[in-house]
Amino acid sequence: MFGLNKRDTGLIAIVTVLVILAPFILNPFPEGSAMAQFNAGYPDLMQRFVIFGIFAIGFNLLFGLTGYLSFGHAAFLGVGSYGAIWMLKLFSLNVIPSIIMGVIVAGIFALAVGFVSLRRSGIYFSILTLAFAQMSYALAYSVLTPITGGETGLQIKSTDSPLLSNLEPGEIGRASLFGLDMRSSFEIEMGDWLFTFNTGYYLAGIVMILAFYLAIRITRSPFGMMLRAIKSNQQRLNYTGLNARPYTLAVFVISGMYAGLAGGLMVAMDTQVGPERMFWTASGEVVLMTILGGAGTLIGPVLGAGFIKYMENIISKINKGILEQWFAFMPDGIEDLLITLVYPFVGKGWHLTLGLMFMAVVIFLPGGLVEGGQRIGRVFRRRDRKSEHAEADAAKQRNTPAE
């Protein structure tokens, strides 16, 4: 269907269903229960899941297919965001032109950076991209303050009056899709459960499904095959009459445009941009998301993005008070002991948990989270079928480059 084979159609169908039902799936615990802390089904986090999913999908097109490790991808997300917010401030409060602007600006910037950086490969390429991104960050923070707002960034202000809008004086513009406010939500209560359906989230979700679909098409295309060939053996590619440079540059720009798309969507969801969005740690984050999920796989980067954003937003909010609430049913001594044991890993210690998770995944699941999923799948399959069958299946799966 849609030019995809059966497996890929199945994959995109699953992703679509998950995106649509995310408000239910991510809110498994009833409101007010001790476990409600783990609910992630609120608009901001759901938006972040899909937006960083897009970012990681785009990054993976470059890194997963060609093996070129860009260490400055956050710069494209950043310039995309700046482009988008200026569009909202000056042109129209409709998010569509602003997202498009984000993509275009990021694409142009990626073209320039890629043109220079792709003259080198391996770690030399990584450092070149890192250098460009760090320069962007440093300049946005300081010298370019008139354009970027510097440390305090850019927001929509009451003084902004976009060309295509009729705001009353003093009214602060809101990003919308043809009049539909990005922040409007619809809620359903079911018993103790409360589910939120947010306009912005569904816009971002639809965009992510499209981005995911496009990524599958690219991966499965002759172009995608050439990219994998670049990763596999660039020498052979050259002696087969193919010029690697335009291929890598094209995918670099596509990947940069994905980052710009993510940046534009971030602005559409939450109308503010700050320069830290371009700091090297942000670039490192998308690298980690991709590797953690499974570089070169289709769904891996999305899983990795979700995993890291979940840790950042959920684990960091668990404070001592919440731990006390959880363990209140225990006898006092054990309660204190448990709190002492768990406390360093949550709240302000969330980085520690994140670091341990990185190590655990890479040590025990060399293929990332996707491999974890495959292993679980294999265990179940082994129960059903004869073991040889499953083994053969597993081997086959291993050989399929994208899952």
């Binding site: 409101e31 609120y42 440390e151 305090t152 922040r183 209560e189 079911m190 103790d192 709240g347």
Partner: protein, 446 residues
């Protein structure tokens, strides 16, 4: 208004709503269907959001802010010794929570990044139903979160943020700042500098290359140049700089006899340490002792500079050695609970929490517009800084500013600064219009 809003979600305990709604119950939540503002507390509790840096360079200040908030919650709910509630000039707070509702709180990590801070604040608003967000340790974060709270229709009580912008060009009707700013630092420092170092000085500025640095340099320059000082040079240093030797080494060659370090946090610790290492303070230039000035002191961070702070002038919002009743009550209460004195960050956060609660009581509602109305031009005392005004035009507090000096013979690890002068509020007050910006209308959301 359309149905646009951030979601409201009080913690639904074992409520009648749940019991009554056995089946799916779709509801469009509209302003008229509810109390008319975002996250109106429905049960017998109210949730506040404490958004502080828990990772990154300001984690220690964030931890101290969080301690202060926990203490404030304890006091608001009637626990502990009541702290500054006893000395606060307004007596609206009863120790029975806020308007009879028990105060609960959620915490989050700003990471001192505006994106992360907004994500954290949004989760508090969308998921936890927080009706007020407070905290933070930098102006970038304060401005970003303040703008978010304006959009979402909740109150933002700024934590530590010193840039003029927060209540200047980026001010918002839903945002309030108790902390002082760069302008006040400059205005408060100038007379003391004049008295101690004379009016014939040549100053060399090192300025952190971002908004706060610019406003601080501007403030100190303006006020010292008015004294007759000459500014020899002003060099911008990158935020990410750790070793300032290449900026400090040329200072002596320039003929300057005063070095002003417009740095905060880690930058300040490093640049000050480096400056002292270079022996600047032992030098004589133009027949005078070479001096160093740090416009904004943070005691927590100054600790990192160790003995290097001795004898160096700066300003601070509050210091635990103040002897007024409010400060003493707060230090006692905080010190008893945690075993060490509170920082200025802790102080401003504690005060902000109390001021918010008090404004809700006096305004009779959690509605941000009612709170804003109650805080507008509110005059109070007994919170550690003498008589204070929450100015209605820019939501900035005007109060005495402390000029401090690194103590020569500290008696303990907390005893780093000594108060040189308490500059009266009148001397640091300025016209609200000078920084531009537009407060806008209060936004109750929903």
């Amino acid at each position: 208004m359309s149905s646009s809003k951030l979601t409201r979600r009080g913690l639904i305990k074992t409520s009648a709503i749940a019991a009554g709604a056995g089946l799916a119950l779709p509801t469009y939540l509209r302003a008229d269907g509810h109390s008319g503002f975002t996250n109106a507390p429905t049960g017998d509790t109210v949730t506040l959001g404490f958004n502080v840096p828990q990772s990154g360079p300001y984690a220690e200040e964030g931890a101290d802010e969080l301690r202060a908030y926990e203490l404030a919650v304890e006091h608001l709910n009637g626990g502990g010794d009541g702290g500054m509630m006893n000395t606060f000039s307004s007596k609206a707070l009863q120790g029975n929570g806020i308007m009879g509702k028990k105060v609960e709180y959620v915490t989050g990590d700003t990471q001192t990044k505006s994106d992360a801070a907004r994500a954290s604040a949004k989760s508090m608003i969308e998921k936890d139903g927080a009706v007020m967000i407070t905290g933070g340790s930098s102006s970038g974060v304060a401005v970003a979160v303040q703008a978010l709270c304006q959009e979402a229709g909740v109150i933002f009580m700024a934590g530590l943020t010193h840039s003029n912008d927060t209540t200047g060009k980026d001010k918002k009707a839903n945002g309030f700042r108790h902390f002082f700013n760069s302008y006040m630092s400059g205005a408060a420092l100038a007379p003391i500098l004049s008295a101690n170092y004379g009016n014939d000085r040549k100053a060399y500025h090192l300025t952190a290359d971002y908004n706060w640095g610019y406003t601080t340099e501007e403030a100190v320059r303006t006020s010292t140049e008015a004294l007759g000082w000459e500014t020899v040079a002003a060099v911008k240093t990158p935020l990410t700089q750790t070793d300032f030797s290449s900026y400090i080494a040329p200072v002596l060659q320039s003929g300057a006899d005063v070095l002003v370090l417009n740095h905060y946090g880690g930058n300040m610790v490093n640049s000050l340490t480096n400056a002292v290492q270079f022996g600047l303070r032992d030098k004589q230039v133009n027949g005078k002792n070479f001096e160093i000035i740090v416009p904004l002191y943070s005691r927590l961070m100054a600790k990192g500079a160790g003995a290097n702070v001795k004898g160096i002038f700066g300003s601070t919002n509050w210091h635990w050695s103040l002897q007024d009743e409010g400060s003493k009550a707060f230090v006692k209460s905080f010190g008893t609970k945690y075993g060490f004195p509170p920082s200025q960050a802790a102080h401003t956060c504690y005060v902000q929490a109390l001021l918010y609660a008090d404004a809700v009581e006096r305004g009779g509602s959690f509605n941000p517009c009612a709170v804003g109305e109650a805080l507008k031009d509110f005059q109070f005392d007994g919170m550690g800084n003498g008589p204070t005004l929450y100015r209605g035009e820019d939501h900035q507090c005007f109060k005495d500013v402390l000029v401090v000096k690194g103590k020569e013979n500290p008696e303990s690890e907390f005893d780093l600064l000594e108060i040189v002068e308490v500059t009266p509020a009148a001397q640091v007050t300025y016209d609200a219009s000078i920084f531009g910006g537009d407060l806008g209308e209060c936004n109750p959301g929903a």
